[in-house]
């Protein structure tokens, strides 16, 4: 077994499978002609998947975004969720550092996706114009759903991805979540140009923890935003 788990394609593949399983929408009935056989759900647009994956892989950025949202809305649940992440070792233990958002990242995603595509857990369909890909669609097959469910049920380390993916999707798309208002947040529309440049996007856990402390103090003193 390789010690370099960062480049472990099976790990990336299973994370992507669980993410797709969590955020994909049912293909619906009647099934369209372009929908692969055995497909049960679909996720359109690669960039969206990339952005969801970013929150999944970087709990410190997710917590920082939750604090931003708390500053604007004053919803205590957001401060509590950020607190749960930052008070734990999640940012250090669960983070999967990724390259800066560059087009080259696709290859990496493709490599992981190929692990899912070969046994037909996910089927990728590309809608092309004459010259370039307009949109990718990621279809989850029944077999993919079964493997994802099995992974969530059997391995706690993997179940964490499903839970976190569902939370992120609920935040971004207002799909409903315990104690969360059904409000669509703008996370997915935000660009990553503001994130520090470099080969690896660095952790902002320390900075986020400082913000958390300051906001908690302000809240306890009654300076709650509404």
């Amino acid at each position: 077994m390789s010690a370099d788990f960062e480049s472990d394609r099976f790990s990336d593949a299973i994370r992507l499978l669980l993410l797709i399983a969590a955020v994909a929408n049912p293909v619906g009935t009647p099934v369209g002609t372009d929908v692969p056989a055995n497909a049960v759900a679909v996720v359109h647009v690669e960039s969206r998947l990339q952005k969801l994956d970013f929150w999944l892989r970087n709990p410190d950025y997710l917590a920082d975004e939750l604090l931003n949202d708390y500053e604007r809305s004053g919803e205590t649940i957001l401060l509590d969720l950020a607190g749960q992440i930052l008070d734990s070792d999640e940012p250090e233990v669960c983070a999967i550092p990724m390259l800066r958002y560059l087009f080259g990242a696709f290859e990496y995603l493709d490599q992981a996706l190929s692990v899912l595509a070969a046994p037909r857990l996910v089927v990728v369909r590309q809608h092309r114009s004459q010259t370039r890909v307009i949109q990718d669609s990621y279809y989850l097959t029944g077999k993919g759903r079964q493997i994802a469910d099995q992974a969530t049920a059997q391995f706690p380390e993997l179940a964490w991805y499903t839970e976190r993916a569902l939370l992120v999707r609920a935040l971004a798309e207002a799909t409903g979540h315990t104690a969360l208002a059904l409000r669509k947040r703008q996370y997915l529309q935000r660009d990553y140009a503001q994130t520090p440049l470099g080969e690896t996007i660095p952790s902002i856990a320390d900075r986020a923890r400082e913000r958390l402390t300051a906001l908690r103090e302000a809240t306890s003193q009654g300076a709650v935003h509404e």
Partner: protein, 694 residues
């Protein structure tokens, strides 16, 4: 006389005093005696003689009942020898005439002769006298009853004065010597008589009424000076109720002093003045001591609150000083605490660094463990799946190609040889176990580091607290408030000490300036000089008293015989003996028993008095010494005498006395019929038909 009655000279007395003092310097002794106004010169011979030659009175009689009221004039020629102012009736004015004469001779009417109703009748009294051989005329003009204006005339010879008519005061050789207004009349006459008769005042010592008693139980006393008005009691005799042999009082043994005076006992007067001076000296000393005592007590009382305040302030000062730790120790304590903080900070930094490193290790291990499990799970889930389609072109992978993987060990998708991957589950599990073990080890290390870091934090916190306390203690000591309080209290103590020194008058160990102030307030204790004064006076008194006592005893012994014979002649019955002593007691034996003077009847007391005075005159004449002036004014010597024979005997004795003793002038008043037989007519002063004199 076996006793030595020679009179020692002044130098002899000084020699005796100096000898008895032992180591005294004669000059110093003389100086001390002189400083007290004491000169011990022996008495010079004096012509102690008083003779009345004429009594002239004017007045207005106002009885309000008889036809005799109106102006009157009395002009009585007198001289040496016996005289009687006689009448056959009472209230004829006999005593009043004696009173008028006594006024002129004494400067104040003699109380024993005074008849209140007649005092206001006298408007003018003139007495022509010879005093010590000098002719004089006393002129009293009464503008108010008993309050005369006095004029003293003198002349070269008596006849020039006697020749003057009535109130006339101008004549050949007559001159006005002195004049006095009412308050000074007594002093003028007294001075004149004392000078002329060579008499010196007698000082006696009288306790002050209500004066505090000293430690010796003696009250403070004042000096009473007796002069002519008191001496006059040896000239004017009456049958009064008082029980004093001679003089107005027994205080200070005045009767004895008067007898010594008229017996011319040498240094008798000087002795009284010595006693007085010594008593004054002692009394002044004891007064100073008492005042010093009282001052000390008052100062102590005044100082008491100060003392209490000082004790309180000193106590507070001690408390403040005790509460002020050594600043060096405080500085050292702060330094030590600071060093401890630095050490703890270093230790804490190291512990924190170690904790951080341990945490990072643990996080790395935890992350690795998580990834390993994820990877393991992913491989378990995905690695065993058969490929169904090409990820590139999505074409199905058929069974034939899948079989190649098993048979030829080539990829069913790309047909390349499969990598030689040992698929050893045990090795994989062993790898996971190693990772878990490493995580457990790093977790334990983090726990240990955490405990060490917590301990370091605790130590640092304690060190910081200790530092804060040390700096606070130093700041408290250095704070202005505490320092000011200490200074204020110190100042308070100093002020109270100064005030207490002043109030209590304690001069030992004080600043020179303060001692100088105190020396002005505090009475200095009696110095050696006054002690010497006291000793000199004491010894001088002793020496002089011996002379006085010796002479007195000798003269009194002689006088006793005279008194006894004269008293018997004057009709004092059953008188066995008298023994006059130096305390003034007559010690009479009457009817074989002791008979105090106070127990004699009033008339016998008068006769004893006459006997004493006449005795003194006789002793003096016999010894050839100036003694009694020779004038006797005796009012009613036979009053209350019921036996006519006795009365006659008394009158006869008095007449004989006045006749026989040279230099005696005896003027008596009497209503006895015997006087008409015994006294020649020219020696009888009386009114018409033996009735009112005026």
């Amino acid at each position: 006389m076996s006793e030595d009655l020679s009179v020692p000279s002044e130098s002899e007395l000084h020699r005796r005093i100096t000898t008895r003092l032992g180591d005294a310097d004669p000059e110093e002794v003389t100086a001390i005696l002189a400083a007290h106004g004491l000169d011990l010169t022996p008495p010079l011979p004096a012509r102690r003689e008083l003779v009345v030659h004429r009594l002239y009175c004017e007045g207005v009689k106002r009885t309000g009942t008889t036809a005799k009221d109106g102006p009157f004039t009395l002009d009585i020629p007198l001289g040496p020898g016996p005289w009687v102012i006689a009448s056959e009736i009472n209230s004829a004015g006999k005593s009043s005439v004696l009173w008028a004469l006594s006024f002129a001779l004494r400067g104040e009417g003699f109380a024993g002769f005074r008849r209140p109703e007649t005092v206001g009748w006298f408007h003018y009294v003139r007495a022509d006298i010879e005093v010590g051989g000098v002719a004089a005329s006393v002129r009293l003009t009464f503008e108010r009853p008993g309050r005369p204006h006095a004029r003293l005339l003198s002349a070269d010879a008596l006849p020039a004065l006697l020749a003057l008519e009535g109130r006339s005061d101008e004549g050949p050789g007559v001159r006005v010597v002195s004049e006095a207004e009412p308050p000074e009349v007594e002093a003028l006459i007294s001075r004149f008589m004392m000078d002329r008769l060579g008499l010196r005042p007698i000082s006696v010592w009288t306790a002050e009424p209500g004066a505090p008693k000293g430690e010796d139980g003696q009250r403070d006393s004042t000096e009473q000076v007796h002069s002519w008005p008191s001496f006059f009691y040896a000239l004017a005799l009456n049958s009064a109720n008082d029980t004093i042999l001679l003089g107005p009082t027994t205080v200070g043994q005045l009767p004895v002093r008067l007898m010594q005076l008229f017996l011319n006992v040498p240094y008798a007067s000087e002795l009284t003045r010595l006693v007085t001076a010594r008593k004054a000296e002692l009394q002044e000393g004891s007064r100073i001591a008492r005042r010093a005592d009282e001052d000390t007590r008052a100062r102590e009382q005044k100082a008491e609150p100060l003392r209490a305040a000082l004790v309180d302030a000193q106590q507070r000062l001690r408390g403040l000083r005790d509460a002020q730790p050594d600043i060096t120790a405080l500085l050292q304590a702060v330094e030590r605490a600071a060093a401890q903080v630095v050490a703890c900070q270093d230790a804490h930094q190291i512990a924190a660094g170690q904790l951080e490193a341990a945490r990072k290790n643990r996080l790395t291990d935890q992350r690795a463990a998580r990834r390993a499990r994820q990877s393991s799970a992913a491989r378990l889930l995905l690695g065993a799946l058969d490929p169904e389609a090409c990820p590139r072109c999505d074409h199905d992978i058929d069974d034939a190609r899948r079989a190649i993987e098993d048979t030829d060990h080539r990829c069913s998708v790309c047909a390349n040889p499969l990598p030689e991957e040992p698929d050893d589950p045990e090795a994989a599990q062993a790898a996971l176990t190693r990772i878990d073990d490493r995580l457990a080890a790093s977790q334990a290390a983090e726990t240990r580091s955490k405990a060490a870091a917590d301990q370091a934090i605790l130590m640092l916190k304690r060190a910081r607290t200790a530092y804060a306390e040390a700096t606070a203690a130093l700041a408290a000591v250095r704070s202005g408030e505490a320092f000011t309080l200490l200074e204020q209290t110190q100042k308070e103590v100093s002020q109270l000490q100064g005030a207490l020194t002043l109030a209590a008058g304690e001069t030992t160990g004080v600043l020179p300036a303060l001692a100088a102030v105190l020396s002005e307030h505090v009475a200095q204790p009696a110095g050696p000089q006054s002690l010497t004064d006291e000793r000199v006076l004491a010894v001088a008194t002793e020496v002089v008293k011996e002379v006085v006592d010796t002479h007195s005893r000798a003269l009194f012994t002689e006088l006793n015989g005279e008194i006894l014979s004269i008293a018997q002649a004057l009709g004092v019955t059953n008188l066995g003996s008298v023994n006059l002593n130096l305390a003034g007691h007559l010690n009479a034996i009457k009817s074989g028993a002791k008979h105090p003077y106070a127990s004699f009847s009033p008339v016998d007391r008068l006769r004893m008095r006459i006997a004493a005075v006449v005795g003194m005159v006789r002793v003096g004449r016999r010894r050839g010494i100036a003694s009694h002036p020779g004038l006797l004014l005796v009012d009613a010597p036979t009053a209350d005498e019921v036996v006519p024979e006795t009365a006659r005997q008394v009158i006869q004795t008095l007449y004989d006395t006045g006749n026989d003793i040279p230099g005696i002038q005896m003027i008596i008043t009497s209503i006895e019929s015997a006087v008409w037989d015994i006294f020649p007519k020219d020696r009888i002063v009386t009114g018409v038909n033996g009735r009112e004199l005026f």
